[in-house]
């Protein structure tokens, strides 16, 4: 087992708008609570991206998102580490920029890091905003309880042949392609539109990513009563309004 487990929150100065830095905190605490040594790194955009075992990317505004993609491509570390098996959780703007192409503020197309075979465009119409419930595809990430989260984005993300959806929305919009897909998985890279942060609301997904990063080890269960109480509340809230359209 690697020691310490290095968890990097990627560019919190550019991709830190929606509280997704919490995903790094959740992973770090859950590893520490199991007695592992952890280094939680806040990787700011004016330094080289550090070597890490897990990279967390979050949501951000249109302009900073473009800058983050450019900087990651020029830096090169993220793509190299993924080729070596590092785990990536990419959320919202972070999800879009690890794909092949994504839209800027004016709808112009920008090159992404290319870790996921996805392309995002900016359709006309309102943003997708609200609670989401996702049934996960067990073939890709193993059996997991439904994911709960909050989406807030204006993209439509289509999946290429090299990648598969993380799951399908039982409530909410998700990727916005009309097929009900949400997120994407390709190897050890997981993308999603879910904030919350997604790992705070879904500790089982957090543990799945940790397990991957540690070499598919089986992790001791933790007392997740607090998160489970939140999950039940959120699941009950969205239960009544499944498959909402864009607002």
């Amino acid at each position: 087992m690697k020691s310490p487990l290095r968890i990097a929150v990627v560019y919190p100065d550019l991709l830190g708008t929606y509280g997704d830095g919490g995903n790094g905190v959740v992973l770090a605490r859950r590893a520490e609570w199991r007695g592992l040594e952890v280094a939680l790194l806040q990787a700011v955009s004016d330094r080289p991206l550090p070597e890490a075992d897990v990279y967390c990317l979050g949501g951000g505004e249109d302009g900073p998102q473009v800058r983050a993609a450019r900087t990651l491509i020029d830096d090169g570390t993220l793509a190299r580490r993924v080729a070596d098996g590092a785990v990536v959780l990419a959320v919202c703007a972070g999800f879009q920029i690890v794909g092949r192409a994504f839209p800027g503020a004016a709808g112009d197309t920008h090159e992404g890091v290319g870790l996921l075979d996805i392309e995002t465009v900016k359709p006309a119409g309102p943003r997708a905003v609200g609670e989401v419930l996702v049934e996960v595809d067990p073939a890709l990430v193993g059996p997991l309880p439904p994911l709960t989260g909050f989406e807030n984005h204006g993209g439509a993300t289509s999946l290429g042949e090299g990648t598969a959806a993380l799951g399908h929305v039982a409530a909410g919009v998700g990727n916005g392609e009309g097929d009900g897909s949400e997120g994407a998985v390709q190897g050890s890279v997981v993308g999603t539109y879910l904030h919350g942060p997604v790992l705070a609301r879904n500790p089982a997904l957090a543990d799945r990513l940790l397990s991957w990063a540690l070499g598919d080890v089986t992790l001791d269960p933790l007392d997740d009563e607090v998160a489970e109480s939140l999950r039940q509340e959120r699941l009950a809230t969205v239960g009544g309004k499944r498959r909402r359209g864009r607002r």
Binding site: G19, V26, E61, E131, F150
Partner: protein
């Protein structure tokens, strides 16, 4: 004829709504008046000297401070003091009075249209940071809309926080800009340059973008805080005056200095205005100490990470019991993910009770922050429970609707 009728309708509906006990009677009447005369705000502003106060945090307090400051001359000053900060609230405030001076708290997204309607003589720009992202715009879009609106209002005096790059960008093309070194604790939304998408670097002396040279303008007045917390205002023209506010916190000192500079831009001596502000003890309930049965509690409002950063400074060193109440209703924003941008780790060792509609989200956050806490869904019960075994005044921090629930609780 139409404006007078619309204005009278506003007053009648407001009075009726107050009599029926339906809230503070500021929005219903304003809406009714605006339906009869869509240009009612423009008509009611004509002949008045209007100042607008906007920004993410400190709007309500700064509006109150500026109102009191302008009143130092003895002039009557009207203000939308209930916090209804969109046109219906503005119309409601102006409809009932002939006061020549007006200070209007203005929602940051509504600033452009309110500026156009009121032809305000002074606009005060406090700060911009993330807040309610599910229903308002991201901060760069807001700054851009300010910039366009102020470019079209060349006669307006603009008083702006020189320490916030987004505010400076928003104010940037104003012909008469008064920069204030008011400080900016929360810098996380301003790292990307609003001018060129380069990177803003913050130093002790200010900030600048390495790519395009966009940099902090030289302020005409600066807030200087000594290590013991004593604050003074310093002007580049040599004036220096200690700030002795009744309101607590560095952020209120900053609000007061911004208000003093705005008062001066509106023709009132800044030092006279500051002297008048010293008497303000609470604003719309913020920092009110009230009783819940036997228990006394100090009520505070923090609705986003920037606001929380300031309040944590204020409460982190105290041993008093602490209640945190979080809602996610429309006025709060529906996504409480922002709780993860607040460094609650600083509360480790405090006795905390988590409450409000979304106490479970808060509880998860505190759990991962290593803050021992209990949960209680009912806010008033939570305050009572927090007090058990302590004679201290309980500190209570709520976000927007959570704060008002407790302020108004029987």
């Amino acid at each position: 004829m139409r404006p007078q009728f619309a204005s009278a309708t506003t007053r009648v509906v407001n009075a009726t709504s107050r009599r029926l006990g339906r809230g503070q009677g500021t929005v219903a009447g304003g809406r009714a008046g605006l339906r009869l005369d869509p240009r009612l705000l423009e008509h009611l502003s004509a002949g008045r000297q209007v100042a607008l106060v906007t920004g993410t945090n400190g709007k309500t307090t700064t509006t109150r401070l500026l109102t009191v400051g302008l009143g130092a001359t003895g002039d009557a000053v009207v203000s939308n003091e209930t916090g209804s900060n969109m046109p219906p609230g503005h119309v409601a405030a102006l409809a009932g009075t002939k006061a020549r001076r007006a200070v209007l708290e203005t929602d940051e997204v509504y600033l452009p249209r309110v500026l156009t309607a009121t032809a305000a003589s002074t606009v005060l720009l406090l700060n911009l940071s993330r807040d309610q992202l599910d229903r308002t715009n991201e901060v760069r879009m807001i700054a851009g809309s300010w910039r366009a609106a102020l470019a079209a209002a060349p006669r307006t005096h603009v008083v702006a926080n020189a320490d916030d790059p987004l505010v400076v960008w928003g104010a940037g093309v104003a012909r008469d800009a008064h920069w204030v070194g008011a400080g900016l604790r929360w810098q996380h939304d301003a790292v990307g340059c609003p001018s060129c998408e380069g990177r803003i670097t913050f130093t002790e002396d200010g900030w600048s973008c390495a790519s395009c040279g966009f940099a902090r303008p030289e302020p005409e007045a600066t807030l200087v805080v000594a290590d013991d917390g004593a604050a003074r205002a310093e002007w580049t023209n040599g004036r220096r005056v200690p700030l002795r506010l009744s309101l607590p916190g560095r952020f209120n000192q900053s609000n007061a200095l911004m208000a003093a500079v705005a008062a001066e831009a509106s023709g009132v001596d800044a030092l006279a205005a500051l002297a008048a502000m010293e008497g303000v003890q609470e604003v719309a309930g913020r920092f009110t100490v009230r009783s819940f049965g036997e228990v006394r509690a100090r009520l505070m409002l923090a609705k986003n990470p920037a606001g929380w950063g300031e309040l944590l400074d204020l409460v982190a060193d105290s041993d008093a019991p602490l209640v945190v109440s979080i809602n996610a209703r429309v006025a709060d924003g529906a996504d409480p993910s922002w709780l993860w941008d607040v460094p609650y780790e600083r509360l480790a060792g405090r006795a905390v009770v988590a409450t409000g509609d979304r106490y479970r989200d808060l509880s998860v956050r505190l759990h991962y922050a290593g803050v021992r806490h209990t949960t209680e869904p009912e806010p008033v019960v939570a305050v009572t429970r927090a007090a058990a075994g302590s004679t201290d005044v309980v500190d209570v921090i709520g976000n927007y609707t959570a704060f008002y629930d407790l302020l108004g609780a029987p």
